[in-house]
Symmetry: C2
């Protein structure tokens, strides 16, 4: 479907639930906040329900506190699932969706999107779901407020690595320019995203840099973030989202891996690539997924076991 | 003057020298390379002469090796000085300029530009001098090659902090989009600038993050890069140019300070500000200087003594 058709579908509903994936990132939070805000501008009721809370680093986004983590079935006729490749990734919030009574509308940019939902707007060329929400807002003839523009630009910036990843297209840059002209404050967003790290965040990063290792003749750089390191610095492991891009910043590395010990027998692995290795494929070997340059997987086992297993596989596959 | 008038002035000359400021940064190198390349596209002779060599991190820029550091007077009728606020900043290359026989054309975006030269194109709203060279190239009706576009985009990116600083405007983003459409590879440039750190670079950064301290109730973040740390990792202290921006990235910090032990009884201090404290004024107290958001000073003494003295003064002044 097109942005216009999704806009038409949204116009038919008055009460809409918005949700996204578990462990939300900047784009999933921003695209939910922006979509709900645009729907409210049109006089609709919109509620956002997510399984997981908003990570601290995104709590600068206007309206983040209205994202509910209570799993109560809302009185709605439609559910918009944004930035989410498959129903499993919705987590517990998926249980609130009854497809018989709710139109399930999916808006996403992941190549791994499996086409779930009644109607879909999927553009895998877009930098971010926020880029798509911007287009839909224009088809809905909503004149964006400065706050809405700031939220959308934040999502574009987080998912494009601050316009550094290869998903940054001329369209992305022009959308960012238009959002600035609607009042989005790029420098303020940059300060929130890149210059407001809690001291403990940098202390943990310092430990990871000191522990950094390479494999596959330097083509893979990796490090493990253990519960022990996190505890020592009072750090929430879920706040480490962008650490893996630092891991990848080593000269010669094509793939960066960050192993995060969740503390419940699960190790989350973040995969990042400079573009010549498809990490979506690597993550899929372990039941995960994502994009060509950014993907993730969850494995059972100790950090040592998971690290060994994944490194060996990646060394063999690249 | 306007970009059109500068283009008309350039069209009159057949042999042109291009130069810029001492200690060249990404924008000064890129704007020189791009301008010289555009002039050559028009069939003109163009040479680039700088006092100082191209830093290693910018040696990915196509054509960097044609920048000469030999102080030989060229046979030209015009000199273009780009990205340079005053004649003193040209350094030794200024001695090659004879205003009686050469038209001195200045293209710059610094607020501190003192208006030197026969004709000037100064736009202090531009993110970078490369943004201005782009405009001039369009007035000259040059269809940019992919290489020229890549060079221009590199300069825009380095001077805007990768589109993160407040000098990034909608015009900057649209110029970047147009350059991508001319073949500039944004992701490749990002990789060269931000994802090719030698491993020792990250190890040193890891140590600095672990050592990071705050003062003045968290308003100042600081750390010392000692000879001992540098030696341990085989690291050249002069390669630490961007480290201070990491020091400033602490939440709540308004000023970031990096103390670099030069090993000859001198400690260089880098000052960075988020914009609300004038670090030019702080550096001036110690005989240094710079800009509101970035400045430096050199002090005699041990790291411990210099650190103590500077921190105490900064705590008192802000």
């Amino acid at each position: 479907m097109t942005a216009s058709e999704i806009a038409q579908a949204l116009e038919k509903h008055r009460r809409i639930m918005v949700t996204s994936h578990v462990n939300p990132d900047g784009d999933s939070i921003s695209s939910q906040l922006a979509l709900a805000s645009v729907l409210k501008t049109l006089g609709k009721q919109a509620s956002i329900i997510d399984q997981d809370p908003v990570p601290e680093r995104y709590r600068f986004l206007p309206g983040w506190e209205f994202i509910s983590n209570k799993m109560e079935t809302p009185n709605v006729t439609a559910v918009c699932v944004v930035d989410c490749a498959n129903p499993e990734r919705i987590g517990q919030a998926a249980e609130l969706i009854t497809p018989a009574t709710m139109e399930l509308i999916v808006i996403d940019h992941h190549v791994s999107n499996d086409g779930f939902g009644h109607i879909q707007y999927i553009d895998t060329q877009a930098s971010s779901t926020c880029e798509l929400i911007y287009r839909i807002s224009q088809k809905l003839n909503v004149k964006l407020s400065a706050e809405q523009a700031t939220i959308l630009l934040s999502g574009i910036m987080t998912d494009s690595g601050g316009f550094r990843y290869s998903n940054t297209s001329p369209v992305t840059l022009r959308t960012a320019a238009l959002l600035m002209e609607s009042g989005a404050e790029l420098a303020w967003i940059s300060e929130q995203l890149y210059f407001q790290h809690p001291l403990r965040h940098l202390k943990v990063l310092g430990q990871l840099f000191s522990d950094l290792k390479t494999a596959a003749n330097g083509k893979v750089s990796w490090v493990a973030l253990s519960q022990e390191i996190a505890r020592k610095h009072g750090f929430d492991i879920n706040d480490s989202e962008e650490f893996v891009s630092h891991v990848l910043s080593v000269k010669g590395a094509e793939v960066g891996l960050l192993f995060k010990e969740q503390g419940n027998g699960i190790v989350r692995v973040s995969f990042r690539s400079k573009g010549r290795v498809d990490v979506n494929r690597l993550a899929a070997i372990f039941g995960g997924g994502g994009h060509l340059q950014a993907a993730g997987a969850r494995l059972k086992g100790t950090v040592d076991d998971v690290t060994k297993k994944v490194i060996e596989t990646v060394e063999r596959e690249i």
